[in-house]
């Protein structure tokens, strides 16, 4: 009834103005509100608490380039730089932004080659027109990749992009993360769209049953239900059993003039963009300081040897489906989650790349006067995130309706590229390269609740620093191999880790104490590079 209380407070204000000569303003009064106003009031989305958590319904669509990782790996191997991939990714984003703008879709995030788009129904729009707009947007996006982007003269010598997509329809929540300058949507609809998109073969769009039933009968005829094997595979990933339908993008809206015209315009724009910068004008410098994404662009990217942290909160989205859940309470929990994730990264000098739903990605690289090796700082940040989530479970016991938040963390170490791409209206930070993909896999595939999973090169780097760093030797000692996957896991807590490090330092200090004692007693001479000298001794007048 937030709408009603809002309306009543407004009415009270009006009454105050009207009755400025009367000292008594009634706190209760009878309101006669027309039915259509009541309907509007119930639809009115009012800011909840101090944050903006707005429930809405719509389509979430993911488009991805399944061969992009392969392309970038090839380029990394060939010349250690990924200028071509960054250049192409930028143009690809520009094309997708234009298509989204045309169909009045909103781009939530670009993450590597994946774009996350959501589309809402407009007030004046019929359901049929809305669904058609969504389908046109999806088809135009895939046609853009195959018929426009891959034919751009600038990229004619490069491996072609392939594309696939996935969409779901349902409720979700829009959220402006307070103080962190990021926007995100929360809800199963985005997760499902992402998962079915990644399962779709190239050139195909997968949609859920919830989306399918919204389609007109003409459009329904174009889609086919997945066969049993494919369906079973996806349902395992989704941990549910919705029906999934598929269509090849080129079998949908084949002669649509609106799409044709749009793609011609996008073609022109992308050609201009692609030719506006040559590869020699692009700079990929080695990172020497802490990464500052705000100064990065297509023209200026960074090559880094560092760590990437992926921490994903699990179980939060399900809370929205619990009956009687209070949105205001969840908004408070949500803000605390984002603050906690961000604080843990920044406390150990990490730099947030982006939030993806309820997941954070942060980079930890070496810089002058860092408090510890980047590997150790990142590991501690991961353990701090676990602590913070445990604290939130305690702190928000009531708000969480007896459920518990879970967290899985993936860490990777190696060489990758950092950049920031997009138009002025929509730009996202990116970490690109094979290593970044490994961190994603560590979190998504292997990290269970309270687990920290690391890639092989993280472990190797920790091992190589073991003589130099006690913390690294403790990290190595706590990792156990996940069969023969090349990933390693630990479930150690921050306290256990700190205790183990402290104990090891104490032991090392004892062995160093002997050398200190020898130095203190060497009252006579020492050997210098320029010959032996008698030592000087502290004095005082």
């Amino acid at each position: 009834m937030l709408g009603l209380s809002y309306y009543m407070s407004k009415m009270r204000g009006i009454l105050t103005k009207c009755c400025n000569n009367i000292n008594y303003i009634p706190s209760t009064f009878i309101l006669i509100i027309p039915a259509r106003c009541l309907e509007k009031m119930s639809n009115h989305t009012q800011p909840t608490g101090e944050s903006l958590l707005e429930k809405t319904t719509g389509i979430h669509f993911y488009i991805g380039i399944p061969n992009f990782d392969e392309i970038i790996k090839g380029e990394e191997t060939a010349n250690d730089e990924v200028k071509r991939s960054i250049h192409r990714l930028y143009t690809y984003y520009i094309g997708l932004i234009s298509i989204a703008k045309y169909f009045e879709a909103s781009i939530e995030k670009f993450s590597g080659s994946r774009a996350h788009v959501y589309i809402e129904q407009k007030d004046e729009e019929t359901r049929e027109d809305y669904i058609l707009r969504c389908v046109k947007h999806m088809v135009a996006s895939l046609r853009f990749v195959y018929d426009v982007f891959n034919d751009l003269g600038k990229y004619s010598q490069y491996p072609k992009f392939t594309a696939h997509g996935g969409a779901d329809y349902g409720d979700y929540y829009k959220y402006d993360i307070d103080g962190l300058d990021e926007f995100t949507t929360i809800g199963g609809v985005a997760n499902i769209a992402a998962k079915i998109a990644s399962a779709a073969p190239k050139k195909y769009i997968y949609i859920t049953n919830d989306f399918y039933i919204q389609l007109s009968s003409d459009l329904k005829d174009c889609f086919n239900l997945l066969d049993e094997n494919d369906l079973q595979e996806i349902q395992e990933r989704l941990k549910g059993n919705p029906n999934i339908y598929c269509v090849k993008y080129c079998d949908l809206l084949t002669d649509d003039q609106e799409i044709e015209q749009l793609l011609e315009d996008v073609d022109e724009e992308c050609n201009t963009v692609a030719n506006s910068l040559t590869l020699s004008e692009m700079e990929v410098a080695n990172a020497t300081g802490k990464i500052n994404f705000s100064i990065l662009s297509r023209k200026k990217s960074k090559h880094i040897e560092a760590g990437i942290l992926y921490a994903d909160i699990r179980g939060f989205t399900k809370l929205f489906n619990v009956s009687g859940t209070n949105l205001d309470s969840l908004a408070i929990v949500l803000q605390d989650i984002y603050d906690g994730l961000n604080q843990a990264a920044t406390e150990y000098d990490g730099v947030r790349v982006q939030f993806q739903g309820d997941r954070i990605i942060a980079v930890f690289n070496s810089f002058k006067q860092e408090s510890d090796f980047e590997l150790v700082r990142m590991f501690r940040a991961a353990l701090l995130i676990k602590d913070k989530i445990s604290d939130l479970n305690e702190q928000h016991k009531e708000h969480l309706s007896g459920r518990k938040l879970k967290v899985g963390i993936g860490l990777c170490y190696g060489q990758f590229f950092a950049t920031r791409l997009g138009k002025a209206t929509h730009k996202d930070n990116h970490v690109l390269g094979a290593i970044a993909e490994q961190g994603d896999i560590a979190e998504d595939r292997y990290a269970e609740d309270q687990d920290v999973v690391v890639n092989k090169s993280f472990k190797e780097q920790a091992q190589s620093l073991s003589n130099e760093s006690i913390a690294c030797s403790v990290i190595v000692s706590k990792l156990t191999a996940i069969s023969t996957t090349g990933y390693y896991r630990t479930s150690i807590t921050l306290k256990e880790f700190n205790d183990a490090v402290e104990k090891a330092i104490e032991e090392a200090k004892n062995s160093a104490a002997k050398e200190v004692a020898v130095a203190l007693t060497s009252s006579r001479g020492i050997m210098t590079p320029r010959g032996s000298e008698r030592v000087l001794k502290p004095w005082g007048w």
Partner: protein, 141 residues
């Protein structure tokens, strides 16, 4: 031994550690490293450098008065001026002074840990008594 960053015209700051402790782990090194400020006099090397406890880690009030080797605001008392006469190679002078400051810090750490000034650390007594020891040392060669 030094990780000094010299700032013009004549002040260097940094963290120093004894070379024999360099092979220790990063964590132990950071515990035994001493952040100092070194002031080079205008007529350096004719006059010796002066070393300061950059982060005021040594609490001189907490150690016995005879070991409080400090000039207060004027830095640490790292040596008796006569001792410099016996430095064989003038270029070693600064190294020896910085080393003396580190040893003072390590002795302080030991004192804080055990509650006693390390008996084997032979710092000089205050006042003129130091001259006799320096001369005796010199005679011994």
């Amino acid at each position: 031994m030094c990780m000094l960053e010299v700032k013009p015209p004549r002040i260097a700051t940094g963290t120093v550690i004894l070379p024999e402790l360099r092979s220790q782990s990063r964590e132990v090194r950071s515990l035994l490293s001493f952040p100092i400020k070194v002031v080079y006099p205008y007529d350096f090397p004719n006059h010796a450098i002066r070393v300061f406890d950059a982060e005021e880690r040594i609490d001189f009030a907490a150690i016995p008065p005879q070991h409080q080797h400090t000039f207060g605001k004027d830095g640490l008392c790292t040596h008796h001026p006569d001792a410099l006469k016996f430095v064989r190679n003038k270029e070693n002078q600064s190294i020896l002074i910085v080393r003396s400051a580190i040893l003072l810090y390590l002795a302080y750490l030991e004192c804080m840990k055990t509650g006693k000034w390390p008996a084997k650390f032979k710092d000089l007594p205050h006042g003129k008594a130091a001259e006799q020891i320096i001369n005796k040392d010199f005679r011994r060669g």
